[in-house]
Symmetry: C2
Subunit: 199 residues, 2 copies
DNA sequence: ATCCTCATGTAAGCTGTTACATGATTCC
DNA sequence: GGAATCATGTAACAGCTTACATGAGGAT
């Protein structure tokens, strides 16, 4: 009975690893801070869990010995609980991160706009084009946000990787923009070749 | 008390609309067939629900009057239940599809590989590159599958839109490939500028 | 005979969200 | 004084997956 017998590491949902990942960067943080950070950065290439779930994951991670926390004493104004990763947590996380690409499975993409385009036969052509145009607007907004987040990123030490991820995100949003423009062009061509009726 | 008082259409999860969408194309189908189709096509730009959930959604859609079904009699070898969309279902679906782009929210992307890259400070540089390389392989495989699916698509009548969606998917996978290559290059540059140790 | 595909479902259980409750602090 | 933000949680429940159960038909 040394420590825990190889522990199959894998049994946790990705979200748990994502939260533990947030803790793996220097500094101790509250659940609240984690949520802000996830909103500002993680969400662009992965996902930002609800705050209530972050709290739940933190409790689970602590129960597993992957994180520890301490309640701030009266020296601080607010009562808050700051979490830090443990050595065991760091080891488990590193092991998880080193898994094969297959383990993470293909990226999950749920594209509501495409779902609607796929059902284009039910909509007026103009409505469809408007939908894609709105999507382009939204993507531009998000691209701005990614760039903002990138601006904040320092890019030194362990922070190079989050910066890399954000750089990827920026490119990804640019690609999304191009895909949407191409889609719009496809829709236009469709209307030209098969007008509402007539000729 | 006319029919149902405008009915707020919206209250269903996207998945329900996706399943109803599958039914909105010509022909009647069993849940089993729907699943096969979702696996072959829907999943590339949206998602393929578990078979058990498809059955559940079909029951719900029927309860709502959006679909109807009939059990195949003894004229057919196997006992199966074929579903068809109703007029009410088609109307509700059309209304849902016509909503603003904002309603569908931004595309949801959960990229496990990026999550791991984001945690690059915990991994050996080589492992990280291998991870991305494996991801590229996987993406190539999926690209092939998209192309295969596109090959099957007829591209006439209401089928133009599914074809459009698959064309988008093909481009999307090509973009994913380029993003991964660029990421690989970024990782290489990182190693050059900050080698393991020494010079 | 055996295995694969077709075909439909039930049950248990986890993941994750929204809504709610609570209270302190800071900013205007 | 009031609103926004900080901060943490609970409870209810929707969504979805896995595993299991069942059985027929077709292929080897």
């Amino acid at each position: 009975m040394r420590k825990k017998q190889v522990a199959p590491t894998q049994e946790l949902p990705q979200t748990a690893w994502a939260v533990l990942g947030l803790l793996s960067f220097p500094g101790e943080r509250t659940g609240y801070e984690l949520k802000k950070w996830a909103d500002a950065s993680l969400r662009f290439f992965y996902w930002s869990p609800a705050i209530s779930q972050i709290y739940a994951e933190l409790r689970r991670l602590e129960a597993l010995g992957y994180a520890r926390s301490e309640r701030s004493g009266p020296e601080e104004p607010r009562t808050k609980r700051r979490y830090a990763i443990t050595d065991g947590g760091r080891a488990a996380l590193a092991q998880w991160a080193a898994a094969e690409a297959v383990e993470s499975g293909p990226p999950v993409l749920k594209h509501g706009v495409l779902l609607r385009v796929w059902l284009g036969h039910l909509a007026a052509p103009d409505r469809l084009r408007a939908l894609v145009a709105e999507h382009i607007e939204g993507t531009r907004d998000r691209l701005r946000e990614v760039r903002e987040a990138r601006g904040q990123a320092s890019g030194v030490g362990e922070w190079v990787f989050p910066e890399l991820a954000l750089r990827w995100s920026e490119r990804q949003h640019l690609a999304e923009l191009e895909l949407a423009e191409a889609l719009l062009a496809d829709l236009d061509e469709l209307t030209v070749r098969a007008p509402g009726d007539g000729s």
